[in-house]
Symmetry: C2
Subunit: 360 residues, 2 copies
């Protein structure tokens, strides 16, 4: 119980009366050592409390059995859930993980990758602000590092992602079918994230397909978004473009939008429907429960790891054409419904009656 000085492979080989090489084999390729010997070695190792030294092993094999993970933040449950998936799969695959967050700052992405590469991780999993114009990806590619993108989508990079644009298009259609005609999109800064852009494009497509006029509200995400939404909505209120439904680019914004609506005395979903994107677990516990597009966050993390581990084992590079697109699904909560005075017959764009307003 007091193994102050860490034991080496030599201590074990001495105690077991074998060569260091044999001890190494017992740990790395047990079946190449005959049973009696193997057991003697294992016993000796156990008694001494021997643990192979990772640094020495890494130096020798040029592999660290570690994966670097670059994510924007853990404060957004989306990425926390993803990391959980990564963590779990990594453990199963015999890898440990070294996560770094970037706080959505492109400059931090470079530093993160530098650090991780310096750390000698065997591969990287990363979510960058914009896959198309990311310079770190170019660098990784040049250094022919093994990596996979999560959430980001790009034809020339290996990705594990979802088709958020298509899902939002479908969502708009669903809202349209419910009777909504004035549907506003609430998004974080579009330039900050290519996912936000994709979702916005999906929204535009959906609105166009339904013959509706799009309207975008861009707010500072992860900050005082609620106030901005309140301000904007109260400005629109009473006007002919006051929306009956909000499509939010992510669940955190949806939650804040619900709060904003309440502050304006609007009932959700009676006066205003609100839909989210992400499917964070907490959404189910809210009142109203969030209606949202659910991403398989943990699974994306898991699949990324599995892909990397497989490639690492086979010693082949990841190929962008093998990129995965996972399924999204809509979770029907309580924050979305037909507008209070839903038209039973197809209505003209922007011709809906303004919803009654109730102030506390």
């Amino acid at each position: 119980m007091f193994n102050h000085p860490p034991k080496t492979i030599h201590d074990v080989s001495d105690k077991a009366g074998v060569s260091p090489a044999t001890v190494s084999r017992v740990f790395n390729a047990p079946q190449t050592v005959r049973l009696p010997l193997r057991e003697r070695v294992q016993a000796a190792a156990l008694v001494l409390g021997y643990r192979p030294n990772t640094a020495a092993r890494s130096l020798r094999t040029q592999r660290t059995k570690a994966l670097g993970v670059v994510l924007p933040t853990l404060l957004n449950p989306v990425f926390a859930e993803c990391l959980q998936g990564v963590s779990q799969a990594a453990m199963l695959g015999g890898y440990s993980i070294v996560p770094i967050t970037t706080d959505y700052e492109v400059a931090h992405e470079s530093r993160a990758v530098d650090l991780l590469l310096a750390r000698g991780v065997d591969a990287l999993i990363l979510c960058v602000a914009n896959a198309a114009r990311s310079k770190v990806l170019a660098r990784l590619r040049a250094a022919n590092a093994t990596y996979v993108l999560v959430y980001n989508r790009h034809a020339r990079h290996p990705c594990v992602s979802v088709d958020g644009g298509a899902a939002v298009t479908t969502l708009v259609a669903r809202l349209h079918a419910l009777g909504h005609r004035r549907i506003l999109m609430v998004s974080g800064a579009l330039r900050t994230s290519d996912r936000a852009q994709q979702r916005h494009r999906g929204y535009l497509r959906g609105m166009q397909m339904s013959g509706l006029a799009p309207l975008l509200l861009e707010v500072p995400f992860m900050d005082g978004a609620t106030d901005r939404i309140v301000a904007q909505l109260s400005e629109l209120e009473g006007s002919p473009v006051m929306p009956t439904a909000l499509v939010c680019s992510n669940d955190l914004l949806a939650i804040r939008s619900v709060r904003a609506a309440r502050q304006l005395g609007l009932r959700v979903p009676d006066d205003l429907s609100i839909a989210g994107f992400d499917g964070i677990a907490l959404g189910c516990d809210l009142t109203p429960a969030l209606s949202t597009i659910v991403q398989p966050n943990a699974e994306m993390g898991r699949r990324s790891v599995e892909w990397l581990v497989r490639a690492l084992a086979a010693d082949v590079p990841l190929n962008a054409v093998d990129s995965l697109t996972l399924d999204l699904h809509f979770r029907d909560g309580e924050s979305m419904a037909s507008p209070r005075s839903a038209p039973l017959i197809s209505a003209q764009v922007l011709s809906q009656p303004t919803p009654r307003r109730t102030r506390p």
Copy 2:
């Protein structure tokens, strides 16, 4: 831009026309190398894109510059926030982190510690189920590993924590002052977490000091807690022990309690006050905004790292008597208020009128 074969210290020394030792000095003790030489070396290193090999360095120095982090889960924002603090401070201190989650399973704690120790981390930060009866702590102590506990409190271990018990006692007093007399505590399984136990003890103390009768509702946390709360409350409803206030052991439970109340047609806080514990950021965005006891989650992480880094640098062990107790504060939200028919004069225990019940 194409550094396929990683450069070694030799490549740099050759190119700079110096010895490998000098290159090493430039990276580890720059001031011991004269300026002209130093710059030549730095230039050579830059051109070659040289990065010191971590494994080799670790093997030589017996330090990995990595910290292991053991937390129950990242799905609870409390720990995600904490890890964010750890991550940030670690980076500033030149350390990387290797997190492992245990899903609140004691058996996983051992495995996590084993893995981390095998990985050769320089120190550990961990939150265990129960510090008093944890066997991994005994093991760490025996192996004289460097470690610090977060959230857990124990006189014989170095801890960075808060006095949750005292805070809950104060909270109960506050509720009492608001006029509440029937205050129920909602907790996850007490045996699962020593923090839950401390908070419960704080609740009991508070109730006793106010001369009130305690009542505990233990539900399966991280699971279908809402249903259990609904069932229990609906059973109590109309009875003379139906609470006017809920003290929840954590914010996630508080959120679910709000949902449960709503499902029963109870208004929060009018019919039922609900208080949380943790102060997760999301609490502010909810409606009603959560009234809760705020823990400095990120700061706890940060301080843990700073302590470890300092000790590691000085090569002295952490001392339990230097344990930190950080301040907690109450955040007044919208989920807590005086009971609908608050007694203006001090009332007898359990003599409150049953709150009217409104079903939708």
